[in-house]
Symmetry: C2
Subunit: 113 residues, 2 copies
DNA sequence: TGTGAGTACAAACAGTCGTTTGTGCTACCC
DNA sequence: GGGTAGCACAAACGACTGTTTGTACTCACA
């Protein structure tokens, strides 16, 4: 088992991590497969330190996972953090909102549209 | 047909808007129905100006819509901006990633979904 | 064991963002 | 029409954060 990702802290970490364009670009690079830090840095034109920092943020947010391969650290996309965001968004979707509305009104909600 | 919400600008606005806890709290309040600015401010313990500012950010990001009712401005959740985020996340979700993950681990993962 | 590649850690700087304070504007009420 | 409630706009302040620069650490290799 894994989940219970809907905690406020995890959601906050994931959303703040996704708010940065460079971090999204890094996720885009890792999307096609695991990449080393230097590889990502070169591909995006970022410095090694900046890339490492962003990868640390992504990892802390559960959006990336690290795998050491010799001296290279391979990073890949992790859906752990994405799950928190996704379930959060789902709660705002119209279908859910209709059900929620009914629940809030508490009644059989036939009186109002 | 309306969409094409996946533009980088829209996605960036939506994610940066969602990155703030107070703005998410505002969305949480509006989730049960449209609310006035003062109502939201009182309910969350924020100042009127701060609340108005955050609502402006949410509106610019397509996450909230405004409806004037007399002197009161009613804000409600809008799924326009949420769609951009959702479709962005979906690109990381598909079974591709699961297969990719298996590839990363180096073995043919036979786990289920 | 010595060398080099690859990466993380730490401090300083600069830009951005959220909050506060002050004010002007619009719509309702008497 | 005068008074008031409700909200947005604008500037200043403080805090957070992304980037840079410098450095220490680990692992592969000869």
């Amino acid at each position: 088992m894994s989940a219970q990702p809907a905690s406020e802290g995890d959601l906050d970490l994931a959303l703040r991590a996704l708010a940065d364009p460079n971090r999204r670009a890094i996720l885009g690079v890792m999307r096609t497969g695991p990449r080393a830090v230097g590889q990502i840095a070169t591909e995006l034109g970022l410095s090694q330190q900046t890339t490492s920092h962003h990868l640390g943020v992504l990892r802390a947010a559960g959006l990336a996972s690290r795998t050491k391969d010799g001296t290279r650290h391979l990073f890949a996309v992790s859906t752990d953090g994405l799950g928190a965001v996704r379930s959060y968004l789902d709660d705002f979707w119209p279908t859910k909102l209709v059900a929620l509305k009914s629940a809030v009104e508490g009644r059989a909600g036939a009186d109002r549209g």
